[in-house]
Every structure is written in C-alpha cells, then in structure tokens.
C-alpha cells in the first residue's frame, strides 16, 4: 500500500487554479452527469423499481388501515382527527421510502468505497470529493422526489390523503421540507464521513436512520408523544425535517408560526454546514486507502499526507 498525497478539497488530479481554463467550466458542468448514476443503476434492474413500487403500495395500504382502525373508537386524539393523522402517517411513509436511495446493491455506499479502496478515485477525479458527494446526493434526491410526487398525486386524487389546509400552509410546508432536506443532507454527510475514522459505519448508519425516523416523527406523529419528549426534540435538528412541515400541511401548526420554524432550521443548516466543511477537511487529510501493496505495507492501509 503506497502513500499518496491528495488534495482534499480539489482532488489530487484536479488542475490547480493557474491552469484553469474555459474547458474546466465545461468539465464542471459535465460533473453533474454523475447525478444520473443512481437513477441509471436503479433502472438497470427493472425488478428493483417494481419491488420498490410494490413495497410502497403495501406499506401505505397497511398504514392507512391501521390508522383507520385506531380512530374507529375515537374522533380525535392529541389534537388530530382521523383524516389529519392518516395524512400525516402516509406522508411519513413516503418520506421514509423516498428520502434516500439504497445504493448497496450498486456497491456505491461510502463504506463500500472505503472497504474496497475505490474511495481513492474520489480524490483523483477532476471534481472534488466534496462536490462529487453533493452531486450524487442531489441525483438521489431528485429521483426520490419524483417517486414521492407521483405517490402524493395518486393519494391526493384518490382522496386517501387530504390536501393542505390552505395554499399558504402548503407553500410553508414545502419551504420547510426543502430546508429539512438540506439538514438531512448534512447529517447524512457527517455520518458517511465517519468512515474516514472508523472504516466501517454500517451500524452507525442504521442507528442514525432509526433515531432520525423517531425524532422526525416518521414512525408516529410527534403530537402523540409526551410533552417532555416534544420539548427535548425541539432542540434537535430532526423535527424540522418532517414534523414541522407536515404539521403545517395538516393545519395542526398555524402558518403564523412558520417564520420561527424556518429560523431554527436555518440556524441548524448553518451549524451543520460549518461542521461538515471542517470534517471534510480533516477526513480528506487522513483518507485510508485499503488494498494494493508495496514494501512499506504496515497492514493497516496507507494514509494520505496532510497537504497543509
């Protein structure tokens, strides 16, 4: 395993500033083609797309019937009526299903790149690893958003879920959801970057997803939890990713509280953005490339020199 020096922020193979030309700009735009990779790998096996669809339909139907049954003996609980709770729960199901695409089968998870040593290529491309990660995440999000939009329209037109209480509430929910997705991007990035220290982060990813689903309200609407739990959750960045937009959507939270929620989300995004920049810098400076061999192999992989 040989020691290689890589530029953490630009990629070692990337031309440095004085050499940049018009062609770089074109190359930079071309980099966005990487956003298609997840979609292409998904459609490479149609069975996978069909199974995603089938699984979602079954899960949505079971969720719908469960909430209808829960409200069979009562009209309202925790300030939510049957229609509001069902709408919230179903939108939560779509959110979990389409928030992230499982790249495991395509061997394109950060941990897989780390274990197979292919993480080195991220630093050899003419696009910085940080940008490459962002481009791929945008591709995943776009793909998930398309599915989410289809599921939403189908459920809305069939009357399974309710429309937003008002146009303002709908727009407010959409804005909150957009900021929530940015928050989620940074959170997931930090979890993935942990690989640079731990090499393996499978359990960390799963734990994060569970905790995130519970604290965001994807499993049960947060209105059903005790007040102390909701108060504690308000201090964390998760609630803004789902509970706040959905509460605005169903009318459980008045639209005039929208500005406050937006401020909290913006604050969290700023904190996470700064943190992720710092962590990227540290992570790139210590990337471990597993695989290969040379005379200086110490059995633990090679580490890049910090170029600073």
């Amino acid at each position: 395993m040989s020691e290689v020096a890589l530029n953490p922020m630009t990629g070692s193979g990337a031309p440095q500033a004085p050499l940049r030309t018009l062609a770089d700009g074109r190359q930079s735009r071309r980099a966005w083609r990487a956003a298609r990779v997840t979609v292409l790998s998904e459609f490479y096996e149609w069975g996978r797309v069909a199974s995603t669809l089938g699984m979602l339909v079954i899960r949505a139907a079971l969720t719908y019937w469960l909430w209808q049954a829960l409200y069979a003996t009562t009209k309202s609980s925790a300030g939510l009526d049957s229609r509001q709770a069902t709408t919230y729960a179903l939108l939560g199901v779509f959110y979990v299903a389409f928030r992230a695409v499982n790249r495991w089968a395509a061997r394109d998870n950060m941990v897989q790149h780390m274990l197979e040593g292919t993480i080195a290529y991220w630093f050899l491309r003419p696009v910085s690893p940080r940008r490459f990660y962002c481009i791929k995440a945008c591709g995943d999000l776009g793909y998930g958003a398309c599915w989410g939009a289809i599921a939403y329209i189908v459920c809305l037109t069939t009357g399974v879920i309710a429309p937003p209480v008002s146009a303002r509430a709908g727009l407010a929910a959409l804005a909150c959801m957009a900021l929530g997705l940015v928050t989620l991007y940074y959170l997931r990035l930090l979890i993935d970057l942990a690989c640079f220290w731990t090499v393996v982060n499978n359990q960390l990813v799963i734990m994060y997803e569970i905790v995130q689903n519970v604290l965001a309200g994807a499993l049960v609407p947060l209105w059903f939890f005790p007040a102390w739990f909701a108060a504690f959750d308000r201090l964390l960045p998760f609630q803004g990713t789902l509970n706040v937009p959905l509460s605005l959507y169903i009318g459980r939270t008045p639209v005039n509280q929208f500005a406050g929620a937006l401020e909290v989300q913006a604050l969290w995004i700023a904190i996470l953005a700064v943190l992720s920049t710092l962590v990227w810098r540290r992570a790139s400076a210590r990337v471990t490339v597993l695989g290969g061999s040379d005379d200086h192999d110490d059995g633990r992989g090679s580490r890049t020199r910090d170029p600073r």
Partner: protein, 289 residues
C-alpha cells in the same frame, strides 16, 4: 508406491468427511465458528459497540411506536391494551431468537455478492448451516434484551390465570414465530441465489413484520388480513398464538384448530422453506462468472 499412499490417504480423508459428526462435535464446531466470528466483529470497536446497541434501539423504536399508540387509544380491534402488548412482546422475543439463529439467511444477497457462497458449496458442512454461521449477529444481544424486557412487562400487566399448559403454549408460540420469520426469509433468499439487490426486499419484510406484527390483524380489511395470514404469514408469528392465550380466537376468523396449531404450522413452514431452498440451490449463479 506413492500412488498407493495417496489413494489410501484420499480414502481416509473421504471416510473422515463422510462420517457424521456427533451432537457434541457439532456443538463444539458451532461454538468455535461463532467465537471466531465474534472475534472478527470486535476488529472494529466502535462498530461492535454500536451493533450491541442497535438491537436495543431498533426494537425500542418499534415498542415506542406501539406503546405511544396504545397509550393514546383505548384498544385496537376489540383487544385491550395489555392483550396487544402481549402480541408485541411475543413478536419481539421470537424476532430476537430469529436474529440470533437465522438472520444471516436474510443477508444472503450480500454473501453472494461478496463471492463467499462459492466456498460454502465446497466445504463438508450443509450449505444452509454455513450461511447461518457466516456472521455473528452482535445486535441479537440487544434484540434479546429488549424482547425479554417487554415480555416481562407484559406478563406483569396481564392477568391471564396462568397454567403450565398456557406457559408451554406461549413458549411454543414464540418458537413457532421464530420459525415462521426464518421460513419467510429463507423463501425470499432463494431469489438471492440468482439476483443481486434482493436486500431491499428482505429489509422490507423485516420492517413490515416489525411494524405490523405487533397488532391484532382483525383491524385490517378481509383481503389484507387473509394476505397477511396465508400469503405472507405475519399472523402466525404472534397474533394467532396470542389470540389463543388471551381468548380472542373469535376475532381471528379462522377455525380454532388452525389458530391453535400456529406453532406447529410454523415448524412445518420452516422445514418446507428449507427444503425448497435446498432444491433451489441449483439456480445459484456465482457473481464471479
């Protein structure tokens, strides 16, 4: 001379391989393999600790889901809160046993993708057993802890007039539930012998059982209930055995004998699934070409 010696040694090795190991030898082998797998897991300390916690957090979130709903709503489908808690706790304990003993079959698509399956086909041990022993599931400790905790809590909250027969039936119900879950994942794993990317399905099955296996299924419309009984047998994991113990057999819509035979059917289903899996091994396609 050399040829004769080689032939003799080969015969000896073959005879050694053909000899069926005794129960004690098998147990010693399982112990050694599991110990080595556990040692391998400890290579990544942080991952190991998180693995221990994972089962607890995952099952805890499912209990939270069920608990919050049960506290907010008076009951479900004619079942009282305590009765529903019994379904959830039986499901949790059977799931924890499944994770400890059988969950590696659900990861077969990964095993195949990593090219490890080829080795299993060459070694002198049943392939299915090798798959089950291929990894040590650290999270089974957390699962078992969460399951046992909730089960004890449910027992305290329920006043069912326990008799030895009821207690034995609950144990059989839990074991039957374990085998049903193992059977479902075994049947699904047949697909993994041929296609990559099946892990999405296995994790979906796991999630669906974890979420909807905790409730009385009589709340669902008839076609959905039938599908979760006869097509995807979630009902046999905890709902039907709990119906016998709590006396809700009328709500199942099934003959009493069929409801009561749930643990036995679980065993039959698993054996059938395993037999079908072995027959399907001929479909196996190595990813290495």
């Amino acid at each position: 001379m050399t040829t004769t010696m080689d032939a003799g040694r080969a015969r000896g090795i073959r005879a050694d391989l053909d000899r069926k190991p005794g129960l004690r030898e098998q147990a010693a082998l399982y112990y050694r393999i599991s110990r080595l797998n556990l040692k391998a897991q400890t290579a990544y300390h942080g991952e190991f600790v998180l693995g221990l916690l994972f089962g607890l957090v995952w099952q805890g979130s499912m209990v939270l889901f069920a608990g919050v709903l049960l506290l907010r709503f008076p009951g479900l489908g004619g079942w009282k809160q305590g009765d529903v808690l019994l379904i959830a706790s039986m499901r949790l304990v059977s799931h924890s046993l499944y994770v400890a003993c059988f969950s590696n079959i659900a990861m077969l698509s990964m095993t195949v993708q990593e090219g490890r399956m080829d080795g299993f086909l060459l070694r002198p041990m049943p392939v299915y057993r090798q798959v089950l022993l291929s990894r040590f599931q650290v999270n089974s400790f957390g699962d078992l802890l969460a399951g046992a905790g909730i089960f004890v809590l449910a027992l305290f909250r329920l006043d069912l007039g326990w008799t030895p027969l009821k207690a034995v039936y609950v144990v059989c119900g839990i074991l039957g539930g374990t085998l049903v879950e193992a059977g479902v994942q075994t049947l699904l794993a047949i697909g993994a012998l041929r296609f990559t990317g099946l892990f999405t399905w296995t994790s979906w099955v796991d999630q669906t059982i974890s979420t909807f296996g905790n409730y009385p299924l009589n709340v669902l419309p008839s076609p959905a209930k039938d599908a979760l009984t006869f097509v995807f047998p979630v009902a046999f994991i905890a709902y039907l055995p709990a119906a016998i113990v709590t006396g809700h057999t009328a709500t199942t819509g099934l003959p009493l004998w069929l409801t009561a035979a749930a643990p036995l059917l679980g065993l039959g289903f698993f054996l059938l699934a395993k037999a079908v899996w072995y027959r399907s091994l001929r479909l196996y396609q190595s990813v290495g070409g």
